[in-house]
């Protein structure tokens, strides 16, 4: 079991202790609270011990397995190089049918810094959180993880915990953590905090910010979708009109409209409401859209609608091929490792923050990944390189 599993089990047990506390009668409530507090302290101690033990175990296992792994990975790496056909530089490629991701294999760690990630959704969400975890792993670093922190206070506690533990770089992967950082960062001037998606560092000199220019990939995908659409109508399921989700939507709309198609946008008002995203996608299909796209983790519902109705899908944040192997046309994938590499070298050079990094097509932090299983007209695909070049050199405006 990983440390994360241990921590989650403790969380679940704490909930049960909580219930047990409620079993006390009126008079016993005080006692119960004391007991719970004690139990909580004990649990934390125990958790520490257990986690340490687990860490050791993991280290052992990792060491043992490393030799074998490396060989395998090298083979895979070779295979990937062959499979993933570089179409136009590093910002566009096609993933061979049957593969689900193009992420480079972990090689030598790029840095000795210790890294922790605090993120709001699950590390396997095929979207926001996974993209960051994959990126750090791709740099050969095994990060400490606190994911699925639905509540900001929980995340703040985790961020503070990592800083107290002496972790060098704490990645606070969520716009909503800005307020917590404003409070925590000044208390730990030796720690570098990396916060995104955000376009400013709030004036804190040990905070780096990062943000994807999601409109760029959105624009490119929008042009492809418009060419592919026979009805000239595309349905978009977004979460809340903010952050990179909104950038993606705006870029996509601009790209599609440049090619003469219209995009109907529905913001569901939620990042996680799968049922609502499903109904939104259904409404788009009913309204005549023959292409669907969307962002945030609730799109798993929208993709299933695309799948059921045989409607092509465009994804963002991560490669979403696994959700619908035949109908995902292409995804804009975030390669945070590009900016992370820059950030890590800045830290090693003694700068702990104060800068904003942007993921773009130009620095290959944004990659358009086509699905090899979807037979896209070569003519359409051929134009993509040109569009990308136009966005990169500024001759095409994404509307931002």
């Amino acid at each position: 079991m990983s440390k994360k599993v241990v921590l989650k089990l403790i969380g679940a047990l704490a909930a049960l202790v909580f219930i047990a506390a409620a079993c006390g009668s009126d008079d016993a409530v005080d006692d119960a609270v004391d007991e719970v507090t004690d139990a909580g302290d004990d649990a934390v101690d125990a958790a520490g011990d257990a986690a340490d033990a687990a860490d050791d175990a993991v280290d052992d296992v990792t060491e043992e397995a490393e030799g074998a792994m490396e060989e395998e990975e090298e083979e895979e790496g070779d295979a990937d190089d062959g499979d993933a056909m570089a179409d136009a530089g590093g910002n566009m490629l096609t993933v061979e049918c049957g593969e689900t991701s193009s992420f480079p294999a972990a090689s030598e760690p790029v840095t000795d810094l210790t890294v922790a990630i605090v993120a709001p959704s699950a590390e396997d969400d095929l979207a926001f959180t996974q993209s960051m975890v994959d990126a750090v792993t791709a740099l050969g670093i095994e990060p400490q993880l606190t994911t699925s922190t639905f509540v900001v206070e929980e995340a703040a506690a985790a961020i503070r915990g990592y800083a107290e533990d002496g972790i060098d770089v704490v990645i606070a992967h969520g716009t909503q953590y800005g307020g917590s950082l404003e409070e925590i960062a000044p208390e730990f001037p030796e720690t570098s905090f990396v916060w995104g998606t955000a376009s400013e560092t709030q004036g804190l000199d040990n905070v780096f910010a990062y943000t994807p220019a999601a409109d760029q990939g959105g624009y490119v995908l929008g042009t492809v979708a418009a060419k592919l659409s026979e009805a000239g109508s595309i349905g978009m399921v977004g979460p809340i009109e903010a952050g990179d989700a909104a950038l993606y939507v705006d870029g996509f709309v601009a790209g599609a409209e440049a090619e003469g198609a219209s995009v109907n946008v529905t913001y569901t008002g939620s990042f996680g409401d799968v049922a609502l995203a499903t109904e939104a996608a259904t409404a788009h299909v009913d309204a005549g859209s023959d292409i669907l796209t969307g962002s945030a983790q609730h799109v798993v519902g929208a993709i299933s609608v695309a799948d059921a109705n045989q409607v092509p899908w465009f994804g963002t944040q991560s490669n979403q091929v696994s959700l619908s192997p035949d109908l995902v046309v292409a995804s804009q994938v975030y390669h945070w490792e590009v900016v992370l590499t820059d950030i890590f070298s800045a830290i090693e050079g003694g700068t702990l923050g104060g800068e904003v990094f942007e993921l773009t097509l130009e620095n290959e932090g944004l990659v358009i990944e086509f699905n090899g299983c979807f037979e896209l007209d070569e003519e359409i695909k051929g134009g993509v390189g040109e569009t990308i070049a136009g966005v990169v050199d500024g001759s095409i405006s994404t509307g931002q």
Partner: protein, 310 residues
Amino acid sequence: MRDLFTLSVLVSTVAAGIRLATPYLLAALGETIGQRSGVLNLGVDGVMLLSAFGSYYVVLRTENLWYGFLAGAVIGLLMGVVYGVITVVFEAEQGISGIGIFLFGLGFSDLLFEELVGTPTPLKVRLEEVAIPGLGSIPYVGDAIFQHNPLTYLAFALVPIVTLVLFKTTFGMNVRAVGENPQAADSLGVSVAGVRFIAILIGNTMAGLAGMALSLGLGIFQPNLTQGLGFIAVALVYFGAWRSRGVMVGALLYGIVASLVLQLKTRGIIPLEASDLGAMAPAVLTIVALVVLARRIEAPAALARPFSRH
């Protein structure tokens, strides 16, 4: 704009509203029975998450919906046993216990999902829509109302059944009695603990069905799939004044307003700028309706009060 008021749009709005309402209705009907017996369960959402994951996982592995159905129901039942022991046997404070159950369900379903599944994987088989013979082919009405998955039919069939059980059976009379005046029921030899325990089992099993309706209906699971739906379901019990028909009206109102707002957004009638406001519409409307329609019907007098003879 021009498309909005066509019949087919109306049909899909109503159909989507009914689909969205299904988990709310199942959970709220179960909670109605529980609350009628004097037990408040704020853990509905947690039970839903556990059952949603359990049934999803079983179907993912076995590709057999019946096994999934069984798993979802059994998990609900087991959580009922847990909640019954906590609130009836140990007479714990119900508000806090329910929150505990919720936190447990949220954390544990997430843990299990990440350990056992990891990446959201669509189910190969899911609850399919079944047209009711005859009725399903009525133009428009059939598409809107008689083309749903079996759990939706079950949810709506349970509306009169719950009323019947509560008002026309000995068990229902006992449930209402222990919810209003447990001392009186006890003095006549009705087992307050027994009746409440069974009501809790029924309520939690129905919460399990609600979770299952969500994951098997969508064909997917991800952490915190319910997004607090179970809490809305508890609110709908108050909205429906502890009557199954009122609860149904509340669930339908919530579902149909949500689907209407989606339709309006899809067709650009609600501008993008107002999009986030639109998302609040179901909740706001429910609150407004609650205030405007608030009937002077009081909650079961012994709601959330543990019973003991001393």
